[in-house]
Assembly symmetry: C2
Homo-oligomer: 260 residues x 2
Amino acid sequence: MAEIPDSHPRKASLMARQKMVDAASIGLLAESAMIAHGRGEAYDYLLGERTIESASLAISEAAARLSEAQNPVISVNGNTVVLAGDDLIRLAAIVGCPIEVNLYYRTDERIGGLLSLLDSQRESVASGGPPEGWSGNWRERVLSVPLLGSEPDGSISGLAGPRSLCCKDGIERADVILVPLEDGDRCEALISLGKQVLVVDLNPLSRTARNATVTIVDEVSRAAAELVNSALDPSRSTEWDNEQCLREALSVISDAGSLI
Amino acid sequence: MAEIPDSHPRKASLMARQKMVDAASIGLLAESAMIAHGRGEAYDYLLGERTIESASLAISEAAARLSEAQNPVISVNGNTVVLAGDDLIRLAAIVGCPIEVNLYYRTDERIGGLLSLLDSQRESVASGGPPEGWSGNWRERVLSVPLLGSEPDGSISGLAGPRSLCCKDGIERADVILVPLEDGDRCEALISLGKQVLVVDLNPLSRTARNATVTIVDEVSRAAAELVNSALDPSRSTEWDNEQCLREALSVISDAGSLI
């Protein structure tokens, strides 16, 4: 890729874009993944490409709920693994939960490719130092994070076809699911099964954003890094007003109008 | 592609997305074209996927300026040809101007592929009936629209490398350029050459939107269809307040906040 100077005000966004282009070129992403990424870029631009205050609160809430869960799981798709796989492995290690690759447009090739990318990210995270505030055997803890998805032996009731496939030890038995960048139908199906669904979605008006239990309106790699920090010292979960959280995000987007 | 029912509220957007996916799969688009399209989808969603009032005014103004120009030209990239090629050929026929394929990431293969797509669109537009309000030999008029770009014999001063290439009979000698979906650097370079630059850009905060002479904040296929109508019976150009036009678009985006 072309070198982007550190001083470039939009360096993080441009580097994320390049990661997506590279991942698409080796077949890790669905056809419409780049379009979805572009939509995210637009909303993030309006948010100022920063974690807004209401998103920070949603991140704390999500970390609290993951920590208190009986059977938490992190469900990831291609965009999520490419943009935030490392930090989500850290998060899974801290919370002590599996990561399940679960795709809307499922193909065995992409599931395999993404699991293999996650496997190398897990090795690299295990070899790096533990996050500040962690005590214990970090390497062992990270390498014990289960990476699920290659053999879906469960299903999400309420969905039909390949979109309903999931893993028994992952999504099926989970009470709390962190599923960044989820599709609206699937978010609704998971909610109607009585699960807590924690999402990361840059569009506060999307069906996913409006139906989720906790919506983090933030770019996925920034959110994942903050989730790691929050999970190291989680607060207690609260009565969460998700609608208020979405209203605050929309008001930031509205204020983008004052930029010119 | 999967059939989208006519009743689907977002049918136009989903069909446009499919056109982009199809075009990408045959190599007509640059790597980042899908991401750019996704950004557009997000802004269009906030605009309500309709031509807002200030965009209608900008379309009339652009049609007037094209009609009054000495040497108008329509400069197109991949996304524009794929999404709005047909109507831009109609517009070129009515205005009596060439269409130049001009790419930010120029490759001979993509220039050739896009010219060949435009050629088949021109044949199809020529074979269809004339737009209501047109008198004269429509077929002859359409087939006489020059399709430029394969042999760039001119240049855009102020730009370096392949991005500066253009055609003498197209962009180089033009006084008024309709260039939907233009890059910020190139928009600035064209403006500083004293040309009138008319753009279509869904992000009212983009550098292109802010630097252009007339900015149509609208989805390119809707804008192209309306430009055809306006050019058939153009009004006269005015003192145009582009900043006011952008402010109105931003205020519509801000009001999207009232949707929840």
